[in-house]
């Protein structure tokens, strides 16, 4: 136990990086996810195909492969970014596929009549998506989005592979010196569990407030 207290500064620093990575990537994934959903439900066939290709590609590639590929591969073609930037972009792009799918299930839950009514009053596709469909869709998928956020927190641990010292890597570094894996990794595990519980709590509250009873 004292081993955790002795190394609190390093572990705390790791937790801060985990939080940064989580917050920035979730934001990126949310924005990209909305775009992906818009593509997938758009009336233009080519755009739908692009949306489907995006989801199929990123849901079927392991995140670690994407991270290593982006980090070591892109500099070969002259694109080089800071490790944290690379990780945020890659995690965003990857998780956007999942956010997109969750949102699409929300869109599908909005009854057809809503879309037809929006069109009948003269709204364009973008307008009807923005003012009618998406607000309702979002309210339906609060819980799935929360689950994606929790998975995203856990996935940030993979960023250690591209030199980012987030919580898991910080714990490994401490263990290298102290050689006490059980208290150190149990401690890190509890921190992850608390983060996940917090997300669960927030989404639970949000869901109760936003839910639409149909």
């Amino acid at each position: 136990m004292s081993v955790l207290l002795d190394h609190l500064p390093e572990l705390w620093q790791g937790l801060v990086v985990t939080l940064q990575l989580t917050a920035a990537s979730f934001l990126g994934a949310a924005v990209l996810g909305v775009i992906v959903t818009a593509l997938r439900v758009s009336p233009v066939r080519v755009l739908r195909a692009i949306g489907t290709a995006y989801v199929e590609t990123f849901q079927n590639l392991p995140l670690l492969v994407l991270l290593v590929l982006a980090f070591f591969g892109l500099p070969e073609i002259g694109v080089k970014a800071e490790p944290l930037t690379t990780a945020i972009v890659v995690v965003s792009v990857y998780e956007a596929a999942y956010v997109g799918e969750a949102l699409r299930s929300g869109v599908n839950s909005v009854s057809k009549g809503q879309g037809e009514a929006a069109r009948a009053i003269g709204l364009t596709f973008t307008q009807s998506l923005r003012h009618v469909i998406l607000p309702q869709a979002l309210r339906t998928v609060v819980q799935p989005l929360g689950n994606i956020a929790i998975a995203l927190i856990m996935n940030t641990a993979l960023a250690g592979a591209v030199s980012i010292v987030e919580l898991t890597t910080a714990a490994k570094n401490v263990n290298l010196v102290e050689a006490q894996p059980i208290p150190i990794f149990v401690g890190a595990g509890i921190a992850y569990a608390l983060l996940a519980a917090l997300v669960g709590l927030v989404t639970g509250r949000l869901e109760r407030r936003l839910v639409i009873l149909r």
Binding site: V165, K172, N173, N175, L176, V177, A179, Q180
Partner: protein, 301 residues
């Protein structure tokens, strides 16, 4: 159709031949590894004390080793044969032969962060994984040996100037393997260096070549092997640390520790140790096998 098959077969044979030739150019353990094990000693029945860890291993018929599958020259799985080759891997086989009479080993890819836990809960019998003996670690595990001594050195991209000693790393970005002794060593000798870590040796080398850091601190043996394969990097110093590698055993198992130490003494005296070195590390390091370190010579062993 038959013609097609013939063409494909010939092409495949050609490819296979290329593969063979390529393999020969890669420095690695020679195929004489089997002979070393053949000549390696086996323990007298009276050495396997009843109720001991050794007896347990012998009756199981397999030695479970915590090790790596991706450490060139030390413990690397050969993708062509599936065999794990290298200094640590062969040492594990020799110990298995000593206990069981046959080199039957199962390697658990233990990853350096879980070695202590795997030994404590009995998942593995021994750890052969460039396991540097430290006093902190000796509180959690027992160390037989040291069985090999190595040291850290510095590699840079060809043509880099201004780095000739560890202190020159201050204020610079330095690459190190995650969970390697390089991290504490850099912190000690160049406290102002910014350390960047990657999971494996090839990744560290790639990062060095892509200017993710100006220098790469790693075990000399690995760097020599890398520099021989790749002229884009060069080694700029002699080893500046002494890392005594120990054989990790369950904490407090004095019987087993004495047994393994006795075995080490035997294979050092009869030349098995030296042959294992020649077949692995000796394929990239010039000259004769070094003097093996004195057993029990470092604090913690």
């Amino acid at each position: 159709m038959k013609k097609m098959i013939a063409v494909v077969a010939v092409a495949l044979l050609g490819l296979a031949a290329c593969g063979e030739a390529d393999n020969a150019a890669v420095p690695g353990p020679s195929k004489t590894g089997k002979d070393v094990i053949g000549q390696a000693p086996a323990a007298a029945a009276s050495d396997i004390l009843p109720g001991s860890t050794m007896e347990k291993i012998k009756s199981r018929g397999e030695l479970i080793v915590g090790g790596s599958l991706d450490a060139p020259l030390l413990s690397q799985q050969n993708p062509a044969t599936g065999e794990v080759e290298g200094f640590d891997a062969t040492m594990g086989k020799a110990l298995a032969k000593y206990i069981i009479g046959e080199p039957k080993v199962k390697i658990v890819n233990s990853a350096s962060e879980t070695r202590e836990a795997l030994l404590a809960n009995g998942t593995v019998d021994v750890v052969f994984q460039t396991y540097t003996i430290t006093e902190e670690r000796a509180k959690q595990v027992a160390f037989a040996g040291p069985y090999y001594t190595s040291g850290l050195t510095i590699a840079v991209k060809q043509g880099t100037s201004g780095i000739t000693k560890p202190e020159d790393l201050n204020g610079k970005k330095v690459i190190a393997g995650a969970n390697t002794p390089a991290i504490p060593a850099i912190k000690k000798l160049a406290p102002q260096a910014e350390i960047v870590t990657f999971g494996s040796d090839p990744e560290c080398l790639q990062a060095l070549k892509q200017d993710r850091g100006v220098a790469y601190v790693q075990d000399e043996t690995l760097l020599i092997a890398a520099a021989q394969k790749d002229t884009a990097i060069q080694i700029v110093t002699k080893p500046f640390t002494v890392d005594p590698y120990g054989i990790g055993l369950k904490h407090g198992d004095d019987q087993m520790k004495k047994f393994v130490n006795d075995w080490l003494g035997k294979i050092q005296a009869d030349g098995t140790w030296q042959q294992i070195w020649k077949d692995s590390i000796g394929t990239v390091v010039q000259g004769d096998a070094p003097q093996p370190p004195k057993i029990g010579s470092v604090p913690g062993s």
